[in-house]
Symmetry: D2
Subunit: 362 residues, 4 copies
């Protein structure tokens, strides 16, 4: 209820602060009997971890995961699975002056007013580092969904600031620091980021994610619609300011005769729906896009106030991502996977294995 | 858990179908001692109800609300408040052939596959008519928030298809059928809608909503961030395909030095944040925009399949909104109000009345 | 969260007050496709309703149930099922002086201090009349559990004040006003109650309930143990002060060699467990007993205070059950059924259809 | 939802197995700004830990707690507090043969059928060792309740098998291995336990707990009644088979004129209510009793079956408590504290600080 648990049947309760002793999560509700070890989880954490290129924060964290519970002789037992990641590279002194001032665009101000106390070390709990436990938990969800339905998840950066990144092929994504599905554009992106870093500024980005081989019928009809829950999950990622499903804001200018995806015996024609109709999955690909704002912790001085209300110019040193969007792709995939996992369990709770005579389309 | 309850501490459990005997909701968690009668709720329902102009569905529903419980001698008692709205103008025969086919872009197909059964009368539970109980419940939330904090809610249509509607003044909104904050553009909008109706087609729209005088500190830090919950609430409205908070997708091309709203002793400068930082309200206006897709029930024939999987052309008769966006403004306000109400209670549960020495900015 | 919703996956949200216009509930999470009509629910309500013998309150309420939603052409659709019961025989004037004083042993005092306001008409929401909606909801649960697993529910009064009622046969239960499983003892019970009524006093009782043909594996291991949830459900019935599962308080004096029910290829020997081990159903009968306190609303004058804190003698007129235990049997069965239904859905959410090679015992 | 989280606003999510690497919990919802360190928690864990007398299991576990998150510079920050306890004295080989057979009265059988897999090392998650994290979490709750309301918790064993333990004084409790509030009876209890151990058998017990200085108004009126939640919390403790509030099963033979606690300007007379009326705290002491069954893991051979369904005699070696009731007192106090903490937050969420003009009684 205090906002540290994600999900209703497949729940992820995370804990920890950026520069505390450890971060981690308790995953509850995982079906029993699935093979699971750290080797299933570590690769997803590695995709997200910092320090892997010059374009992201230089904090060095191996993000090594330890499974503390819930697995016996290599299989899930149906009891809570705890993932623990010890923090290794804390440099809390970097943040010394932050305690007395508020960074424009940062959670400093709101945490202070909400709680009357805040952990300033690396942003404490408001740090994007806290997405790591969810990425670990999502590795479990992805494995179950793949084994059960063949569901897979993909994502890529589709825009960096003004630079649109045309989609070429998913196979480019693991081969560059930007999760771009385009090989030729990489030098341009690197040049842009190098200049930005020199200026001490930051930039926004757009990320696209897709889930494929999703069964029809996931999602609840009124308030826990699948698209509503995806919007919740994605908007909850640090720095996200916008979420689209399927055609998204393009729907504003579409006519009904254009927007509604035709059904044919061979499948759906088009996917303006983004795989969701009436809040329930159609069996098409689930597609979503998110807008990520530029990092608020920048070296460029900005007008702000201190805790006594006096005007002050704030510059942020320490180690920060100049574009948090660069590492956001695996996080967005993870959140999408957690939503689908949760709804897969919710669906079978109420509906069991529904049989209908209509062919299921993709 | 089956998706018919909204909120965690201020909960709204809705029920009913478009052409069943009644729709309504149970509102639980309302603080005791607030004056409340049907007269506080009916005006909000009247703003949303059908049949008020030629540009919306011609179904005639007075949407008269009856309070069945939770109020004693004109005051809330802290027990559940039940709102009942009897359906008056059912014409189920209009939907006769829908049971055997699926409308492209409609929940017909997904309900059928999820449940193995569906109520085809007016879309059953998937009808936008089911937003009425939430609008009623939100009237209670709005009243409490206003009495406690002075919080107010406003909304307007900012785009109809290709037609952008420049903001002039909130005072225009109640004076036209479109909830447009612009008087001069109304003839153009009417002309557009008249042509569209003649064509038997439908169109998308964009709606903006604002909450003013919101206290600082509402929202939970990791997963029930205020913006995440707003995204959930707004994306859950029928036909919504995109949600933005503050700068939204404009953040993609912004630099950090531009996006972060400066703090000064006199207040925030700008509102790219949309009133939320780190998932917690800043005290600025909460601003959000939504994209609404065109109605899927249109007279224009569309390719689809029947329940045996055979190809068929579907035309939808009956009474439908050619632009569901036209009646969406009060609904979007309502969902925003429900989110803020819930988080106001959640905040005082954990934090009570926090006192900090920093001035609170707007 | 405000305590008016029962269950997590099969949820019952009740509303209404004893002398308001109506009481009822919204049942969410019912699996789709089950045949359901008022005729399935009314008989359970009839077993609980007042005015059926001279030993219970003389309030005349037919408790006629109306299904407002969730059923289409005689089948559940998977959407919320709303049950509405209009109150018919309010006599609020009977309770006029109660608003200024507090009955010893009654919720008057605590509601007043909790909410600062209370509905005094017939106890408002604290009335045992509010068990009716749960009994209605449980009729739905019982039907589903019976169709799915053959599960049945039985209950009887096993003690009235000092009078123990030896169990003879379930078939006696529907044939007397006390739900006694014993025919010969009825005259003694009637004589006792007649004398008590003359004295203007009330008396406690003990009720036993059993669920038969319960599948193995229902219940969660740590905090939502099946027995913990049964205890919660039964202790939550008005006037209940004690709950036992299986051997209950007899376990205190048992040795391990006596208490643990032996397993044999033919089944369990004995049922000290009451059908639950480690919080999970064994497949044996689920057995529970409850202690019901005497009604607090009695004609005998009792020392109390008024709202100014002055001493006063309170006598309660109006219509009351001199032994609330008499009508408690169908309520206890209902709450047990709601727990099992909820856990049946929870079990299949996480575990699906588990297959083990060990024989399942009863 | 899978039963490893306790509470709704002050939530405790536990994890771990008896012989896994660690056990622990995540405590979410703790109000910010309270001084907290391991020194506040360790003493409660020490009261519960094994190996402290010859009458309990000889497993040697220091149960040293580490706070992993949620505290900054000695104060709670409002973010999740994680408690980690590393297991030290695992001897899993002791349990080798258990995997193939089922102990009568043990969760072996039900876990196997529920999940199709179970961790047999020390009972895995069904071990009473898993009460330790809740005891740690409750130390936080106790501290907050004491600082806020002066609330304190006490408990004692009131019966061991046939031996009733007359209450003399709370001050005896910390001075004996049984948590008995009676000094003279200790030799008799020790003699009884020594004989029992020699016989390889186990025995039940009764425990009483009390909360003092509880504010009036805690508890929700219909389904989350304070007494219902206490029953849930206490019945959920391993081996508990019965729960009483106040007069408990004595209520069965009481008349209304005897049971209802009179109110006088000086306070309540008597406490048959056990501090709860209509599900809401009265301000009186909260009193509850529990029945604890004898341990199922005994050396005495018992008839059972193996996983192929063949009859077999089961004897359990390894280290076990011959009377789990002996260490149950701090656990029962802890669960009571968690319930009150949760309801203290729930109360202020909905009702804030209610002011009524009637004097508050004790």
């Amino acid at each position: 209820m205090s906002g540290n648990t994600f999900g209703t049947l497949f729940t992820v309760t995370t804990f920890g602060e950026s520069h505390g002793p450890a971060i981690g999560c308790v995953v509850d509700g995982c079906p029993p009997g699935m093979a699971l070890s750290e080797a299933d989880i570590q690769p997803e954490l590695d995709r997200r971890r910092p320090g892997t290129s010059r374009h992201v924060t230089q904090r060095q964290e191996p993000d090594t995961v330890e499974i503390l519970s819930g697995v016996f002789e290599g299989k899930t037992t149906g009891t809570p699975i705890t993932l623990l990641i010890r923090n290794q590279d804390q440099r809390s002194k970097d943040y010394g002056n932050i305690l007395e001032t508020f960074r424009p665009g940062h959670a400093d101000y709101t945490y202070w007013h909400k709680y009357g106390i805040r952990d300033p070390r690396g942003g404490g709990r408001s740090s994007a580092r806290l997405t790591a436990p969810a990425v670990g938990a999502a590795a479990i969800a992805k494995k179950w969904l793949f084994e059960k339905f063949g569901t897979t998840f993909k994502g890529c950066m589709s825009q960096l600031g003004e630079i649109e990144i045309p989609f070429e092929s998913w196979e480019h994504v693991p081969n560059n620091a930007f999760f771009a599905a385009n090989a030729g554009i990489i030098p341009k992106l690197e040049e842009y980021m190098d200049a930005l870093r020199k200026d001490g500024d930051s930039i926004g980005a757009r990320i696209d994610v897709v889930a494929q081989n999703v069964p029809v019928g996931l999602g609840e009809p009124l308030y826990d619609k699948l698209d509503a829950e995806i919007a919740y999950a994605l908007m909850g990622i640090n720095a996200v300011k916008g979420v689209e499903i399927g055609a998204g804001f393009r729907s504003v200018t579409q006519k009904g005769s254009e927007h509604g995806d035709a059904l044919t015996p061979e499948g759906f024609v088009g996917n303006n729906a983004g795989g969701v109709l009436g809040g329930i999955s159609t069996g098409q690909d689930i597609t979503a896009s998110i807008a990520i704002k530029p990092t608020s912790s920048i070296r460029t001085p900005r007008p702000s106030i201190d805790k006594s209300g006096n005007p002050i110019a704030v510059e942020t040193f320490g180690r920060h991502d100049p574009c948090v969007g660069i590492r956001a792709t695996p996080i967005a995939e993870a959140m999408l996977a957690l939503v689908l996992m949760d709804h897969a369990l919710r669906h079978r709770a109420q509906c069991g294995d529904v049989k209908v005579d209509t062919p299921q389309l993709r």
